[in-house]
């Protein structure tokens, strides 16, 4: 169980990035965190990952306070952050240096298989597409079998099709491993399809605005009426978080708006794309 108790972060430059954020994440739960740009979502994950120290409050995993990176907590960043001097296999096995070489090779092969990149182990990072690189990053995080996986907009740099693929894939991986996940996203559909619970944040300073429990089973069809209803609910919550009038369509705004227009909001084609590696 992961407990966040009044997590607060004030950066040295005075920016109040996060204020008294409390949340209890059950084991095996997927919590999505959505909110406008700059409302402290990345800060939240970096605090849990032990990459930043909280100014007040603490994060507790199974009774232990997280002050530095924890062996059972891993994070997937917005960009793959692969090490270009290692092959794909070298990157995936990066966290397994303690294992004997052949055990490591086995685990790496298995992880690559799970992200649909079997046989890619010998490639250089420069020989991967963006989506493949992000999948390698996912494999690198999963191979150490973390108890808690933090995902900071992991699919935001990808095109819609690849993104949908990887979301489905993440759901499959979750079904196999039962890893606890905290998923920061700009994409309300991603939150609606994957999460057990959604936390909506508001900025200045970053804090929790509301929590939405989701009772739907996974895997979820993106076009299912319940999912569509959930997406509308999320759009409304996001608008509240930004003090916007509900009449304005959030999907229209051009800049990096907090709300991504649901791609099939008006009930067109079904979206669940078969996963092709």
């Amino acid at each position: 169980m992961l407990e966040l108790q009044n997590l607060t972060k004030v950066y040295p430059n005075g920016v109040h990035a996060l204020e008294a954020f409390s949340l209890t994440v059950r084991e095996g739960e997927i919590v999505a965190v959505i909110g406008g740009s700059g409302c402290g979502k990345s800060t939240l994950l970096r605090l849990i990952a032990g990459l930043e120290q909280p100014s007040r409050g603490r994060a507790v995993l199974d009774g232990a306070t997280l002050t530095q990176p924890h062996p059972l907590v891993n994070i997937i960043f917005q960009e793959p952050r692969l090490l270009p001097w290692l092959t794909v296999a070298g990157n995936v096995g990066f966290g397994l240096a303690d294992l004997a070489a052949n055990d490591r090779a086995l685990r790496v092969e298995e992880a690559l298989l799970r992200v649909g990149l079997a046989g890619y182990g010998g490639r250089w990072v420069k020989e991967l597409s963006g989506g493949q690189a992000q999948r390698v990053a996912i494999a690198r995080a999963l191979v150490t079998r973390p108890e808690v996986l933090l995902l900071d907009e992991p699919f935001s740099a990808l095109d819609a099709l690849t993104r949908a693929d990887l979301q489905d894939h993440l759901a499959d991986l979750w079904a196999e491993s039962g890893t606890t996940m905290i998923l920061v996203t700009h994409d309300i559909e991603e939150a609606a399809v994957l999460a057990d619970r959604i936390v909506v944040m508001r900025p200045w300073p970053g804090r929790k605005l509301e929590e939405i429990e989701i009772a739907l089973k996974r895997p979820r069809e993106r076009t299912a009426p319940e999912v569509e209803a959930l997406k509308r609910q999320l759009v409304a919550a996001l608008n509240r978080s930004l003090d916007r009038s509900p009449g304005r369509s959030p999907g229209r705004s051009t800049d990096r708006s907090p709300v991504r227009a649901p791609e099939n909001a008006l009930g067109s084609e079904p979206v669940r794309v078969p996963f092709v590696p």
Partner: protein
């Protein structure tokens, strides 16, 4: 896994091989020789046609004869071996010290605040100025020569490594932190591999300086070595011997540089850069 974490660097992939120009293609070697051979031929012609006198500037044929004579007695090989040995020992010592000092100061800003100003001040001393002191300390023989070369190699390597380590992308360092690497492991598995391309450049300039300093070292009193051939040629008025030694420097120096590039090339195949290879 070797000292540096370059797992699988030797493994992949036939694909990379085929699309790259091979560094030792015949055409490429031929291209490298066009300029020096043209210069030699022109020089020879100028002397043969009487447009230039060959007394202080002996033609290539005379230098070739000198080189041949030196080689026939085995002297040339001995001089080359002695000089090469000094350069290699000095280079290894200086590069190792420069790498360690650079990695430490690059890794720890606090250490850098203490050590870097001093090292920069030492760097500002023209290295030849150490010669009298080194002779007093280490005597006239090998140690003082090797020490001088090591000092010459140290600074470019130190500067290169320290600057490169300090500017490694924070994002990649965070990956190391997430996997809870200890300080030394972070240096070995993230920082040094990340700076490897600039490290090779630093080593090459270090090696170049090593060759520069071996001449200075051999000028200060040596009974063998290519630098000794230079001094000897001057004292006995043998410009052909001087030029023979100079050409040998060019050839051996270039050869060591090429070996360094070839030796490190397998470690750099991952690079995704615009430049030409090697």
């Amino acid at each position: 896994m070797g000292f540096l974490d370059l797992a699988g660097a030797a493994a992949p992939a036939a694909a990379t091989k085929t699309c790259r120009p091979r560094p030792f293609g015949v055409q490429r070697i031929a291209a490298a020789f066009v300029l020096p051979i043209a210069a030699l031929v022109l020089w020879e012609l100028l002397v043969r046609t009487g447009l230039a006198t060959g007394r202080l500037m002996p033609p290539p044929s005379r230098i070739a004869v000198t080189l041949y004579d030196l080689a026939a007695t085995g002297e040339l090989v001995r001089h080359i071996a002695v000089t090469l040995w000094r350069v290699v020992v000095g280079f290894v010592a200086g590069a190792a010290a420069g790498t360690i000092a650079g990695a430490l100061t690059g890794y720890s800003p606090r250490l850098s605040r203490f050590a870097d100003p001093t090292l920069q001040a030492l760097r500002a001393i023209p290295s030849i100025a150490w010669v009298p002191l080194f002779i007093l300390w280490f005597g006239i023989f090998e140690t003082s020569k090797v020490a001088l070369i090591a000092v010459g190699v140290f600074f470019p390597v130190y500067l290169g490594v320290s600057g490169a380590v300090a500017s490694v992308d924070r994002k990649i360092v965070e990956v190391g932190r997430v996997f809870r690497l200890s300080g030394p492991a972070l240096v070995r598995r993230i920082l040094l591999p990340a700076v490897l391309p600039s490290y090779v450049v630093a080593l090459r300039s270090g090696l170049g300086l090593g060759w520069m300093f071996v001449v200075a070292a051999e000028f200060m009193g040596a009974s063998e070595g290519l630098g000794y051939l230079l001094v000897d040629g001057q004292q006995l008025g043998k410009p052909d011997q001087i030029l023979a030694a100079i050409l040998t420097f060019a050839a051996v120096g270039k050869l060591t540089d090429t070996l360094l590039v070839l030796g490190t090339a397998p470690l750099l195949r991952w690079q995704d850069t615009y430049g030409r290879d090697a």
